[in-house]
Symmetry: C2
């Protein structure tokens, strides 16, 4: 049976290191500050924003929640972001996704050095240009990368990613190419997914399709990272048929307590980084 990757333990390690950094910043009179903008009342989004706020409190990061109704005029959100861009007590700005498509452009209004989600084109471009030190790396890909770097040398590894969104699959592909892995990006339009998953030394999936990945789709000894998330009859289910695939994998994330906790830990890390950069 493969080793279960413990996301909660790893996230706790990261947060413990951050506590020290935050204490050092406080000595320099800096309290890292994160503003979250929530538009509408999607129940999932509310849960996520609250979890982020709670983790901020836990670590001693100042957090501010700004809530707009679904029907908000774009100019109101714009005005708020431009104001947050200027505020010295706010180092990170996060707009909780999903947002209405006609508001998507507001993400690009966040100044790149406060873009702790790493979605601003300048941050995205710096990652793609193999210039990571000048970028905020998106949280979920950064968390996944941190698991992988603990486990293996990525150079020359065959990695298959099942997700081609700008939030997970694409930044991950660039991060892995920066480390000289061979990368295949699959998605809902891929024909014969199995031929790509079966070949992978490392399989990362974030499709949101319950039990998409079965035991006969992976090879012996594969590392499996499951960032998929669905609810089936009230139970949280990943993209991977965990019980069956764990018998074949060398390492595998569980359906809960895997990638999730890392995403929030990395958001905190990016916020502390933004606060540190404000000193320069």
């Amino acid at each position: 049976m493969g080793k279960i990757i413990d996301g909660r333990a790893k996230a706790a390690e990261i947060k413990s290191a951050l506590r020290e950094e935050i204490a050092n910043l406080k000595k320099k009179n800096i309290i890292p500050g994160l503003a979250t903008i929530l538009i509408g009342s999607d129940p999932g989004s509310i849960v996520y924003v609250n979890m982020k706020q709670k983790t901020c409190q836990e670590l001693g990061i100042y957090s501010e929640k700004i809530t707009f109704p679904e029907s908000i005029e774009a100019e109101e959100v714009e005005k708020e972001i431009l104001n947050l861009n200027k505020r010295e007590d706010i180092h990170g700005i996060l707009v909780q996704l999903p947002i209405p498509p006609e508001l998507k452009y507001i993400l690009d209004l966040i100044v790149p050095y406060k873009d702790v989600d790493g979605f601003h084109p300048e941050n995205v471009g710096n990652v793609a240009n193999n210039n990571e030190e000048n970028a905020f790396i998106p949280c979920t890909p950064q968390g996944i990368l941190s698991f992988l770097e603990d486990l293996t040398d990525l150079k020359g590894k065959n990695v298959t990613i099942v997700n081609h969104s700008p939030v997970v699959g694409r930044p991950l592909a660039n991060l892995l190419l920066n480390r000289d892995a061979t990368v295949t990006v699959c998605h809902v339009h891929t024909i014969n997914l199995q031929q790509f998953t079966k070949n992978a030394d490392i399989l990362i999936t974030a499709a949101g399709v319950p039990h998409l990945i079965k035991a006969d789709m992976v090879k012996q000894g594969v590392i499996v990272i499951d960032a998929g998330f669905s609810r089936v009859e009230g139970k949280i289910v990943g993209d991977v048929d965990f019980e069956a695939v764990k018998e074949i994998a060398s390492h595998i994330t569980p359906p809960t307590g895997g990638v999730g906790p890392m995403t929030i830990a990395m958001l905190m890390k990016n916020t502390v980084k933004a606060a540190s950069l404000s000193l320069e």
Copy 2:
């Protein structure tokens, strides 16, 4: 035998359409202007810059060549770029690559709306975020994409790219993901390249390794785009063993007159686009 893709004919078509656009711009008193910066005296770079200038003249685009010695201070180049950023008669700025590594940062000083090479992180990020209309698309990938869109619907196609640089492989991967292809990016650290090339409906290579791709590495009916370029005993040789592979491919670019002419045509297209945008 596969059909030979005629890059010269396709480039001529594009240039002919551009001539019309340029005539229309002139009616509005705009003459598109391209500045090229050449640092050092690499013979290849000199040839490329001259070809770009010649094509500008052919089309009625104003062009200006700025040349610095290899030993130039970074601040001098910086000053020149900041000046070109401001000039109203210059719509596109191109720094001929390669440049000394310590000068690489100057590429990011070009304002994104004059970055006709498409290497500025903001342009790169907009392509990666599937927001192409707000980006300049790098010239070689844009030329390759234009071939492919003439030949096939990219959705669900298996594409293998042999190049993982920010100049060719990565922007191409993003452009193809934007069109829902399944994309594998290979490179010098890939183990068992053949397993990835053999599976491809479309194979794009830019490795600069003469005859890296042999007939037994591709499948029947593949589309082959060869952007590789080497000199062997004074002769120009691509990455693909053209004579053997053309018997298996459905479409294939020749070692010369394939991707090359398209790269320059797309630079002209980006320059005219930059001039048009200056009217907005």
